[in-house]
Each structure stands twice: as structure tokens, then as C-alpha cells.
């Protein structure tokens, strides 16, 4: 383990990584929202979000409601109603519900447990975005390998994940799993 790791090098790397992380996030968001205008193979999101998105909230929530997000959203809203839902652990839905309640409070200044589908997904998506995964991964790699270059390379590669949509936005467990697994 090198004892002469330059503080300036580390700070420089982290600075570049923060910028590239935001840039890749923006590119991912842009591609996601543009592609969601294409015809859907499965139109079930429109059943939940009532046809064409009519409000800003539904517009932002629409591309996030795919696949397992249905199950997480339903658990967040109604609790564990059906037996198959027990395959999903409660952490994600809890975060969605808490986030949605906070958003609702910010908008209406009244505390309420009754949250909308759109609110749940936006809250979940927002929390997913703000897990500080890149800097955590940098410090973890530095701890194990002692090399700022290795840490920098690893984090740059981590900005090209194999599933950007679920990792960064979706309320599936992945963003939280990533952050927590990076923290060890």
C-alpha cells in the first residue's frame, strides 16, 4: 500500500468523476425520456398512469414505471397484498413511500399517507439519483488497491454500467444495493 498518495491527485480525480457522473446521468435521462415516446411493447404503464401523461408528475414518472417497478410501487402503496409480492424486500418500497410523503408535504403543506403512483416513482427515482456511489467506489478501490489510477479507472468504467436505467433511476433495489455494497 503506497504511503505517498497525493491528496491533490485524489481530489482532481474526484472532481473529474463528479462532472462525468452528472454528464452520463444527463445523457441517460435524455435517452430514456426520448425513447419513452416510442410505442410500448407492453402498455400496462398507461393503465396505472391513466393514458397520456396529463401532469408534470406523470410525465416524469412514466418512463420509470417498468417491470419490477410495478411490484415495488404496489407494495409501497398498499403493502404486501399478494403472496408473490413477498419476493420483494421492503427497503425499496419504504424509501419510495417516505420520499413520496415528503414530496406531498412539500407541495401541499399537509401531511398525508395517501400518495399517488406518480409521486412514488418520482420520489424513488430522486433518492436513487442521490446515492453518492461514484466517490464511494473511488475510496473503496483506493482502500483495497492503494492506487489512485486504479481507483480512477474503476470509477470511469463504473459510469458505463450494463443496466443504466435500473441502476440510476428505477426504484428496484439496485441503486441502494450498489451504494451499500460499495460502503461494504
Amino acid at each position: 500500500m503506497s504511503t505517498t498518495i497525493s491528496h491533490a491527485t485524489v481530489e482532481n480525480h474526484l472532481h473529474i468523476l463528479r462532472i462525468t457522473s452528472v454528464l452520463t446521468w444527463l445523457l441517460t435521462v435524455a435517452l430514456l425520456y426520448i425513447s419513452s415516446n416510442l410505442p410500448l411493447f407492453d402498455s400496462s404503464p398507461r393503465v396505472i398512469l391513466q393514458g397520456k401523461p396529463s401532469t408534470w408528475a406523470e410525465f416524469f414518472a412514466f418512463p420509470l414505471l417498468r417491470w419490477d417497478a410495478f411490484h415495488f410501487g404496489h407494495i409501497a402503496k398498499e403493502g404486501y397484498l399478494y403472496e408473490y409480492e413477498w419476493a420483494f424486500f421492503p427497503g425499496g418500497p419504504l424509501v419510495m413511500k417516505a420520499g413520496a410523503c415528503i414530496l406531498h408535504f412539500i407541495r401541499t403543506q399537509t401531511p398525508s399517507q395517501d400518495v399517488s403512483w406518480a409521486g412514488l416513482f418520482i420520489a424513488g427515482g430522486l433518492v436513487s439519483c442521490f446515492c453518492g456511489t461514484t466517490t464511494t467506489l473511488y475510496r473503496l478501490t483506493l482502500h483495497h488497491f492503494g492506487s489512485p489510477s486504479m481507483a480512477f479507472l474503476t470509477c470511469l468504467l463504473a459510469l458505463l454500467p450494463s443496466s443504466p436505467a435500473t441502476l440510476r433511476f428505477s426504484v428496484c433495489s439496485e441503486p441502494f444495493f450498489t451504494y451499500l455494497s460499495y460502503r461494504g
Binding site: 435517452l31 413477498w86 454500467p161 450494463s162 443496466s163 441502476l167
Partner: protein, 214 residues
């Protein structure tokens, strides 16, 4: 892994590691207990087949019944494209974890004072215990290597294999493996970067139009 690095195994460390592991498992057990209390301890009529299992966990039952999860159950012809989509990332995980187990973990275990006498008495074990040193094979990432190997195997043989694309992206080990590719096998490393960019973009579009693999 401090246990392997130290020359003596401390009971306190073993107990501490066990306690931390139990804490992680406690959340899972609590979730299962909540399900048990809801279905098996409520009034008559809500009893389910898994209530009589040992242990009475809802999770394996639900995975098997509703998602058809089980050893080799996913290996059907119609799921072959999903499995093929996951092969790059599974190959990456296997290559680094197996290499690590062979070149770093086994040598360090076999040359530990407790086992070294047994190792020296066998030609095959002695061969296995040779370890070419490399900065990418340090002892502290052994848990990551073992975890990745086991997770990749579960994903390949028992689960819906395409979720490897989601799960592996959450592991630091995946990106260490990719960094190793770029450093030790640059040509394959470049293919990895190219695949990541192309597949990452394609997967966003597939997610948005609600197509597999997601």
C-alpha cells in the same frame, strides 16, 4: 479476510465477524417472520403450503411458484437470448473471480500455518499453492471474489439469468474486473468498453419501450 492475513486466528475476530454477518441476515429473517405471522399464525383459512416447511420461509416458495426459479429451470430454448445477453458480464465475473481464487485465495489458504504441513505433503496442493504476485490479487478483496463467484453461479444456474446485467452493475468487483481487463488484456478490455457503451445505450431504449431483458 483479516483472518487469512493474520498468522493467528483470533476467536474475538471470528465472533465479531459472525455477529456482523448475523446482523445482515437478521433483516431477511425479520421479513420472513412477518410473512409467517401474516399467513401461518392468523385465523384459519390463510394457511399456506410453505407454513409446514423447515424453515417456514415464504421466499423460496414464492420464487419457485411464481417465478419458476430453480436449478436449470430457466435453461429453455425460449430463454436462450436472455441467457446470451448476460454472458459478457458473467464471463467477466467468472474470469476474475476464478483467477483470483486460483492465484491468490487458494495459495494463501494452503500456505497458512495451520494447513501448510498438509500442503507440503501433496504435490498437487503444492502446485496449487504457488502464487504469482500481482497488485490485482491482494488479500483484502477475497470476500468480493468469493461473493462474485457464488452470485454469478446462482444467476447462471438458478435465477433468471438476464438479471445479472442489473445485479453485476451494482458490484465493485465487476469494475475491478473490467479495469484488470484493460490493464492486463488491453484488446479484450477495449471490446469490453465498446460493449458497455453500446449495450448501455440499447438497454435504456429497451427499458423505455418495455422490452426484455430489463
Amino acid at each position: 479476510m483479516l483472518i487469512l492475513m493474520a498468522k493467528q486466528i483470533s476467536i474475538v475476530r471470528v465472533l465479531a465477524a459472525g455477529a456482523l454477518a448475523a446482523l445482515t441476515c437478521a433483516a431477511f429473517v425479520l421479513h420472513q417472520w412477518t410473512a409467517y405471522a401474516s399467513y401461518c399464525m392468523a385465523e384459519a383459512g390463510t394457511d399456506r403450503p410453505w407454513c409446514n416447511n423447515f424453515p417456514p420461509f415464504i421466499y423460496p416458495y414464492v420464487q419457485e411458484k411464481y417465478w419458476n426459479v430453480g436449478f436449470l429451470r430457466y435453461w429453455t430454448l425460449s430463454q436462450l437470448p436472455n441467457i446470451l445477453l448476460a454472458t459478457p458480464i458473467l464471463a467477466l465475473l467468472y474470469s476474475y473471480s476464478l483467477s483470483y481464487i486460483h492465484h491468490a485465495l487458494l495459495p494463501s489458504v494452503l500456505t497458512h500455518p495451520i494447513l501448510s504441513r498438509i500442503t507440503r505433503s501433496s504435490k498437487w496442493l503444492t502446485w496449487l499453492s504457488k502464487n504469482p504476485t500481482s497488485p490485482l490479487m491482494n488479500a483484502s478483496i477475497a470476500p468480493h471474489a468469493l461473493h462474485s463467484f457464488i452470485l454469478a453461479s446462482i444467476l447462471l444456474f438458478s435465477a433468471h439469468t438476464q438479471i445479472a446485467l442489473r445485479l453485476a452493475a451494482s458490484l465493485p468487483f465487476t469494475y475491478w474486473a473490467a479495469a484488470r481487463l484493460l490493464v492486463e488484456y488491453p484488446r479484450i478490455g477495449k471490446w469490453w468498453v465498446g460493449w458497455s457503451i453500446i449495450w448501455g445505450s440499447v438497454s435504456i431504449v429497451l427499458w423505455a419501450v418495455f422490452l426484455p431483458p430489463a
